[in-house]
């Protein structure tokens, strides 16, 4: 039997419906793959084997009767930020030790209602705060991609090896993998690694400043953050409520469209869930983009950006032009202020949201001589460094005397950032093309980034504007850098025009192809 984990969701869906394979077979194939790979990659923090087998069995019963849902029998990984009933839900934080919610998030409920199978919970940066998946209480996730180098190998003139190998001599170049471990990006690093390394058919993720798109770009996968309000936030552990959105990470554009259709819904339990029907995103794939107006923002050409990112961007422009799109230069003048404004707004909201972790209602409790000491000790022990840093920033910018100078100023700038986008869309631009990240994946425990938190924050420089303006954005793999690492392009659309993003991303994907890491794990 061929490796079932290599099937895309659309391929698996066809084979399941045609009864060529069963949900149980494909689920077992993934569980085995996780078993073998997880010690090396650390993508899963909890594997729900029994639950997966039960769900697969029910799927098979429905498939036999021809009653399968849109995702019937498709095995998925779920980011640890999503509340899953009776199953490990800790946002990869120590402070939520042992938490098993008595409810199911709306997004995951939607997936199960469509027949998907849950393989387990995926690693992430603690409370989704990070861009490398190194802030997880459960340790870093490892990127399945490694740098490779070209070596000149001198061939022996003749050699009688064990296998009877004979060479005529000379030399040749060969690519060999470097052993250095790289980060998968964050915060949805477990989701990106699991999808890229064939440890699930697709995964849920969330994006507050780039947490879907940056890890997707680092792992050669497709990730979409839909418009704010498209997916319900109900039952997802809150980080920064005005910015948080759920979305999928998948192996190709079509799979991302299939997953988003199931994840998105109108939900009375989330007052920011927007009252609009969910379109059939898959139907947008393959539609011509002739005459579409693609904006190229000059402010995304930043100092010190590596040559290969600029080259990739130019390639993307050429592909869309070849497909008949009209390329126009645009300006989004407040771009450079998006990241600093984000580092006021997001920590401010986080400091309020994370006030609930006090050792009383769930998770960790460290005893103290009185209730205040219990709070302080619990939170000191339960939160990691990055989370504490952001709570502190948030508490400071909201404290008496500083609110106007920081928070109010940032929210005003946020309106200007949004207005920049509104202006270019009003001028007829349909979609904006930018690089997804300012670099390829970097090494685990990068010293520069450890020494300066702002260096790590700069990873989100191209993605964070989209959250600030509430727009949809997709990262699609577009090529490899000279060291063989994947790089992604980002498309930004008008509010609720995710279809345009899928339509355009599919054109890039067709030109660039899809990318899989060489297996070493």
């Amino acid at each position: 039997m061929s490796d079932l984990t290599r099937l895309t969701i659309s391929q698996a869906r066809a084979k399941l419906r045609a009864k060529e394979i069963t949900a149980t077979e494909i689920t077992e194939a993934y569980l085995q793959a996780i078993d073998r790979a997880n010690p090396a990659l650390n993508a899963y923090v909890a594997v729900t084997g029994d639950k997966a087998r039960d769900m697969a069995k029910s799927s098979d019963a429905r498939l036999v009767k021809g009653e399968g849902g849109a995702l019937e029998g498709i095995p998925l990984g779920i980011k640890d930020l999503f509340g899953t009933e009776g199953v490990h839900t800790q946002a990869c934080s120590h402070v939520l030790d042992g938490f098993k919610p008595r409810y199911e998030s709306t997004v995951t409920s939607n997936l199960w209602a469509d027949g998907a199978v849950m393989l387990g919970k995926l690693n992430m940066d603690e409370f989704a705060m990070g861009s490398s998946n190194e802030t997880s209480y459960y340790g870093p996730v490892i990127n399945p991609w490694r740098r490779s180098r070209l070596d000149t190998v001198v061939m022996p003139t003749t050699h009688q090896g064990d296998g009877g190998f004979v060479s005529a001599g000379g030399s040749k170049t060969q690519r060999s993998l470097d052993n250095a471990q790289l980060v998968p990006g964050g915060s949805s690093g477990g989701s990106a690694t699991a999808v890229s390394a064939f440890l699930c058919a697709g995964a849920t993720a969330t994006d507050t400043g780039g947490s879907i798109r940056q890890p997707a770009a680092f792992t050669g996968t497709v990730g979409i953050k839909p418009t704010y309000g498209r997916c319900s936030r109900w039952g997802i552990v809150a980080f920064a409520s005005s910015l948080d959105q759920a979305g999928p990470i998948a192996r190709d554009v079509r799979d991302a469209a299939i997953l988003l259709k199931s994840m998105a819904s109108v939900d009375p339990k989330d007052t920011t869930s927007v009252d609009r029907p969910v379109p059939d995103y898959e139907a947008a794939i393959g539609k011509p983009i002739k005459g579409m107006k693609v904006g190229i923002p000059k402010e995304y050409r930043v100092d010190g950006m590596p040559e290969e990112i600029e080259a990739l961007w130019q390639k993307g422009i050429a592909w869309l032009k070849d497909a008949g799109a009209e390329i126009v230069d645009i300006s989004l003048p407040h771009t450079k202020y998006a990241l600093p404004a984000y580092y006021i707004v997001a920590p401010a909201e986080a400091s309020s949201n994370l006030a609930r972790y006090d050792g009383v209602r769930y998770g960790l409790r460290v005893p103290g001589k009185d209730i205040v000491e219990m709070y302080e000790k619990t939170r000191a022990a339960g939160f990691g460094r990055e989370v504490k840093r952001r709570i502190m920033i948030g508490t400071y910018v909201l404290s008496a005397g500083y609110y106007d100078a920081y928070y109010l100023q940032a929210q005003k700038v946020r309106n200007l950032i949004k207005r920049d986008f509104e202006n270019v869309f009003a001028a007829g631009v349909d979609v904006i093309l930018t690089p997804a990240t300012p670099s390829a994946a970097f090494g685990i425990a990068d010293e520069d980034m450890a020494a300066d938190p702002v260096k790590m924050y700069l990873n989100d420089i191209f993605t964070v504007t989209v959250n600030m303006a509430g727009l949809p954005g997709i990262a699609v793999p577009a090529g490899l850098d000279p060291k063989g690492l994947p790089l992604g392009l980002q498309l930004i659309g008008r509010p609720f025009e995710e279809e345009t993003l899928f339509q355009t991303a599919a054109v890039i994907e067709q030109a660039a192809g899809t990318f899989q890491p060489e297996k070493w794990w």
């Binding site: 042992g98 098993k100 919610p101 008595r102 704010y228 309000g229 005005s242 009375p268 007052t271 920011t272 927007v274 450079k336 202020y337 990241l339 600093p340 404004a341 580092y343 006021i344 400091s351 009383v360 209602r361 769930y362 998770g363 960790l364 409790r365 103290g368 001589k369 009185d370 209730i371 000491e373 219990m374 709070y375 302080e376 000790k377 939170r379 000191a380 939160f383 504490k388 840093r389 709570i391 502190m392 920033i393 508490t395 400071y396 404290s399 500083y402 100078a405 109010l408 100023q409 940032a410 929210q411 005003k412 700038v413 946020r414 309106n415 200007l416 300066d452 702002v454 600030m468 509430g470």
Partner: protein, 95 residues
């Protein structure tokens, strides 16, 4: 603007996070790096600009003021570190 160790300790107290002397000193440096980075927002001319209150132009959804959920006391306390008869247990607050 920058913060000193004393301010960091005050903020930590507000955030209910216990910090050691060493933590406070390290955090002072980190916080000042971040505050230095966000300082550039001051150069933006925001005259006449309203602060954002909602990223999507929508009216806040309202629901009927009726009970739609409840009778789940056991579920609510299920994850608590210490409970008694569906109450959360905490150290003594009032002497």
């Amino acid at each position: 603007m920058s913060v000193d160790v004393k301010t960091v300790k005050r903020v930590a107290r507000l955030a209910r996070i216990a910090v050691s002397e060493e933590d406070a000193e390290r955090m002072t440096g980190e916080l000042n790096t971040i505050l230095g980075f966000v300082e550039q927002l001051n150069e933006v001319d925001v005259s006449g600009v309203e602060p954002m209150t909602s990223v999507t132009p929508m009216e806040m959804k309202k629901r009927q003021d009726i009970v739609t959920d409840g009778n789940k006391a056991a579920d609510i306390v299920a994850n608590a570190p210490a409970t008694e008869e569906n109450f959360f247990l905490v150290p003594k607050v009032v002497e």
